[in-house]
Amino acid sequence: MAIKKFMYLNRKASYGTVYAIESLEVVLIAAAFEQDVSLAFVDDGVYQIVEGQNTDGIGMKNFSKTYHALGDYDINKLYVSAESLEERGLTEADLMPLVYEDEDDDWAEKPSIKVVSNADLTKIMSEQDVCLSF
């Protein structure tokens, strides 16, 4: 089977709608097919990977820890829109330090998150075979 480039586009905040957790579950399930997977976080989607989430007050499961498992699933291209961060008064330092271990480099830990401009993200999206929007 030829490897295809899949991008999962995340546009909504973690809680309040089911989109974020559904996207994460699909990503983890689809990882079994060993395709070339990347994730994009734009608009309120950037809130999905903000550090220090606390769901005590809304009585929902805090699934933010699960993003740390993505590296184990060989999902290590997480693009974040620089404009979306800035519009919300956030910087890369507000995001979880998501990393993966590079098998080809003696398991060195490397960052998975890349903050990119919307123009660059548009270009990356145009290179995908499949783009799924959540």
Binding site: E25, L28, I29, A31, A32, K61, N62, F63, K65, T66, H68, A69, D72, Y73, W107
Partner: protein, 107 residues
């Protein structure tokens, strides 16, 4: 609803309330599957429980295999070894003994 040592389980034998889990429940589930839990089984069960605690999900078999090999030695990081411990699948059977839900993406 079925139960194991008083703890409620679903139709596939997975614990309904993860907090009900005890080592005795794991032993009892294994016994029902004709398995005597060895130290090697417990290495995997404890690993699964730690992984779940850290990431809130049960790892896929591929991820589990890689991680076990890294932690316990290369000779154990393969599905043949893990299936020798858990003949019904390290993900499905191992997670059931560990008191975790079925792994995401596990059929």
């Amino acid at each position: 609803m079925a139960d194991i040592l008083g703890a409620e389980v679903d139709e596939e034998g997975f614990l309904v309330n993860l907090s009900d889990w005890t080592k005795e429940i794991a032993d009892s589930m294994a016994k029902d599957d004709d398995i005597e839990l060895s130290e090697e089984h417990w290495d995997v069960i404890n690993f699964l429980r730690d992984y779940f605690e850290e990431y809130q999900i049960a790892p896929a078999v591929r991820v589990l295999t890689k991680a076990i090999g890294k932690k316990f030695g290369k000779e154990k990081g393969n599905s043949k070894y893990l299936y020798s411990l858990f003949p019904y699948g390290p993900g499905k059977q191992g997670c059931r003994f560990a008191g975790l839900p079925k792994p995401t993406g596990c059929i």
